[in-house]
Amino acid sequence: MELLKLIGVLIVIIGFVLKKDTIATVVIAGVVTGLVAGMPFIDILNTLGKSFISQRTATLFVLTLPVIGICERYGLKDKAVDLIKKTKRATSGRIISLYLAVRALAAAFSLRLGGHPQFVRPLINPMAQAAYIAKHGQADEKTEDTIKGYSAAGENFGNFFAQNCFMGASGTLLIVSTLNEQGYPINALQIAMMSIPIAVIAVLVGIGHNYLLDRHLDQHAKKGGK
């Protein structure tokens, strides 16, 4: 009956796949796993409560919210827009690459740039589309879609791979609390530092990817595929 213990994993998968409430899914998975393993209910409550208290570290990011909220009110996002608009000799790929680098740096310094709704749609995608039109003339539907896809991808690359470089990021704190709970005494500074190499590599890989986009767009336009 060993395999029955995996029911909690199954519940997590089903809950997330079916988009059920994430908090309830996780709590139910924990309780059911405990019951299946034959833990008395009071022990389950005790384990749940004890680890919830000791894992409060994972929620330390809340302390940074007032600062970020004030900076937003005083024009943080507006200045980020100004910075990106300064692009010289713009091509679609270069604009997306610049945004990727700015986005990664911002993520590493815990700035929440708001991503797709606040940057990609109103700024990055229109600029990348305009750069294509300036160089090759009107784009066909498929090319337009491709540029949109790469613009959104730039946001995701920068955001995902650089965010753990900040000590107070929720991902960083999740790693710390999970490993501490399992008996490995590591801290947030170590995880943040160890996250730097992959962040740098992600930006470089993303820039290469956007360089290939520019080449692809050039060839596509040459073949007359407007």
Partner: protein, 306 residues
């Protein structure tokens, strides 16, 4: 209680205060459709953060069940916030210029400095940096005193109940370990990993993280399962550096996030927002990078961890 624990408890009380204020904001929003239950959610959370450690643990356990019941019933909703208008932020941006980045930079830099040079521990360093950055923010923006409350609760409400997900997932990992889930997964996986093959163990862990993230659409959830089941028994207990395994493990999962429609808010919703003809165009644009990055993770973890 040692000095560092006392400082940590102080910061947890500040977090509890922020939760309490979000609850009060909901309570005062008379037009809020789920006013009482939303207030209850934030108050219960504040209770566990502040006095939880001094009570029998099962009481906190009951509180966790209660907040799960509230979110499951969809009873926790954002209340009205004082959101700054676009003209207001633009006007401030023009007066302040790039100085507005300074408080945010302080958050990251002071945290690293405090963790390195002060004897209060890395977790407390985050609280210290938040306090320093807040003072710097006030000096630079000359914002009214209530801004920290107004804007802090606005963002916290915006993040919403999902903000405690990492904490719950770490707790879930603890329950999984107590129940022996890790051992079961480890037994299954040991069939694939030949004895002592570090490279294959690294590959299985990274690919496992990516695959589980593809299925669940959430790297955090994958991390607690796969790290307990594969990362610890096959890497860390074989001598791999836990810092490397943890840091690269989560981002290996993010390679999966780039590939899955399950991560709708990153891959599908933005496509709708950009009005693309092909709703999978973002995933297609990311696929090449996702595979390259996964390979990089395996190589980097193999080199750095042993």
């Amino acid at each position: 209680m040692t000095r560092n624990v006392a400082i940590a408890e102080f910061f947890y009380c500040i977090i509890a205060l922020i939760f309490l204020l979000v609850g009060i904001k909901a309570l005062r929003d008379k037009s809020h459709p789920k006013r009482i239950s939303t207030t209850a959610f934030w108050f219960i959370l504040a209770f566990t953060f502040s006095v939880g450690p001094y009570l029998p643990h099962w009481i906190t356990g009951v509180c966790v069940l209660a907040i799960a019941a509230l979110t499951a019933a969809n009873r926790v909703v954002q209340s009205a916030s004082d959101v700054p208008e676009a003209e207001v932020t633009r006007k401030h941006a023009d007066t302040l210029g790039y100085k507005v980045f300074i408080p945010a930079l302080c958050l990251a830099i002071v945290a690293v400095l405090a963790a390195t040079f002060l004897p209060f521990g890395a977790n407390n360093a985050i609280g210290i940096s938040a306090a320093v950055a807040l003072i710097v923010a006030y000096l630079i923006t000359k914002a009214p005193a209530r801004s920290a409350v107004v804007d802090g609760t606005r963002l916290m409400d915006n993040v919403g109940p999902v903000g405690i997900l990492p904490q719950l997932l770490a707790a879930l990992g603890a329950l999984f370990t107590a129940a022996g889930v890790g051992t079961v997964i480890a037994k299954g996986v040991s069939a694939i990993i030949p004895d002592g093959s570090r490279l294959i163990a690294v590959a299985v862990y990274c690919i496992g993280m990516a695959l589980f993230t593809i299925i669940m659409g959430n790297g955090f959830a994958a991390f607690s399962v796969i790290t307990v089941g594969i990362g610890i028994p096959f890497l860390i207990m074989q001598g791999a550096n836990p810092v490397v395994v943890g840091a690269l493990g989560l981002t290996a999962g993010y390679c999966g996030t780039l590939l899955t429609p399950m991560a709708a808010n990153f891959n599908i919703m933005p496509a709708a927002l950009l009005e693309t003809k092909d709703k999978y165009v973002i995933i297609k644009s990311q696929a090449r990078v996702a595979f390259v990055m996964l390979l990089v993770h395996i190589i980097l973890m193999y080199i750095l961890a042993f």
